[in-house]
């Protein structure tokens, strides 16, 4: 039963952190290259434009949900299960979500990278 709770938490972490990453990436693409914006209009303009993007706040909220799910997951499951399982699967989930929602061109090179890093994270936790 405890195992089931831990996996439910892992699922929630993956879902929330992927949603958060996608929302933040989407918001920042709308804001535009912050380096250029900073040079042309200053730091306050960057901050103002980021905060004026509603999806940015949603992304932050999703990240907060992911963080608290991690805390709950850690209280039910082992550190050595929850952290590597959620981190490695998040890499793969992000590649899928970025392709569907952000229309990023996830080339074979990027799939391999996501899978290699995901597998590496699991091996490092063993």
């Amino acid at each position: 039963m405890i195992e089931l709770y831990a996996w439910a938490a892992i699922g929630l972490i993956i879902l929330a952190s992927t949603a958060g990453d996608v929302l933040l990436a989407y918001s920042m693409k709308r804001v535009g290259d912050v380096g250029e914006l900073w040079k042309q209009r200053g730091a306050l303009a960057v901050l103002g434009r980021v905060l004026a993007t509603p999806t940015f706040a949603l992304g932050l909220a999703a990240m907060a949900i992911a963080f608290y799910s991690l805390l709950f997951g850690l209280s039910w499951g082992n550190l050595s299960l929850v952290v590597p399982a959620s981190t490695s699967l998040t890499f793969v989930a992000n590649a899928v979500a970025a392709r569907i929602f952000l229309h990023e061109r996830v080339s074979r090179r990027r799939w391999i990278a996501a899978l290699l890093v995901g597998a590496g994270v699991i091996l490092m936790a063993l």
């Binding site: 990453d21 996608v22 933040l24 990436a25 918001s27 920042m28 693409k29 709308r30 804001v31 535009g32 290259d33 912050v34 380096g35 250029e36 914006l37 042309q40 980021v50 890499f91 992000n94 590649a95 970025a98 392709r99 952000l102 229309h103 990023e104 061109r105 996830v106 080339s107 090179r109 990027r110 391999i112 990278a113 996501a114 899978l115 290699l116 890093v117 597998a119 590496g120 994270v121 699991i122 091996l123 490092m124 936790a125 063993l126």
Partner: protein, 141 residues
């Protein structure tokens, strides 16, 4: 990709790793925080390690969203995962922790993955349709 942009990517890795390490050290100094004394979590900010860790994690977040403004998510995430490798190598060479063969294999896989994605393009070249803002049309590599 300019040198400055590589610096931002390095910043994500370094700030996240150092921030987590400081935060972990600070929380160990404080001891366990029980759910019945949540005020302990608020007071944790007064611990110098915790405060330093939070500042570094804010720096990490600034670098992270900045990178997302000019690179794809599927580029930024794998490209900055070398933090796991840095932590393991620091533990090995600075603190003489033993790294098992499985962990060395994990380090090799992550390094290969980072190299794989970093050698490719950083941004999907799609013309963005957003007439409000001339800046967002720029596609730089």
């Amino acid at each position: 990709m300019t040198f400055q942009k590589y610096l931002v990517l390095a910043g994500i890795t370094v700030f996240a790793t150092a921030g987590d390490a400081l935060l972990a050290r600070g929380m160990k100094e404080l001891g366990g925080v029980s759910l019945h004394h949540l005020s302990g979590l608020l007071l944790a900010i007064l611990n110098p390690s915790v405060a330093g860790g939070i500042l570094l994690l804010i720096a990490f977040f600034a670098c992270y969203v900045s990178a997302l403004s000019w690179a794809d998510l599927t580029y930024v995430l794998p490209a900055t995962s070398s933090g796991y490798v840095f932590v393991a190598l620091t533990a090995h060479f600075a603190f003489h922790e033993v790294i098992s063969p499985t962990r060395w294999l994990g380090i090799a896989l992550i390094t290969a993955g980072v190299g794989f994605v970093a050698a490719g393009p950083s941004l999907t070249p799609v013309p963005r349709i957003d007439s409000r803002d001339p800046l967002s049309h720029e596609v730089k590599s």
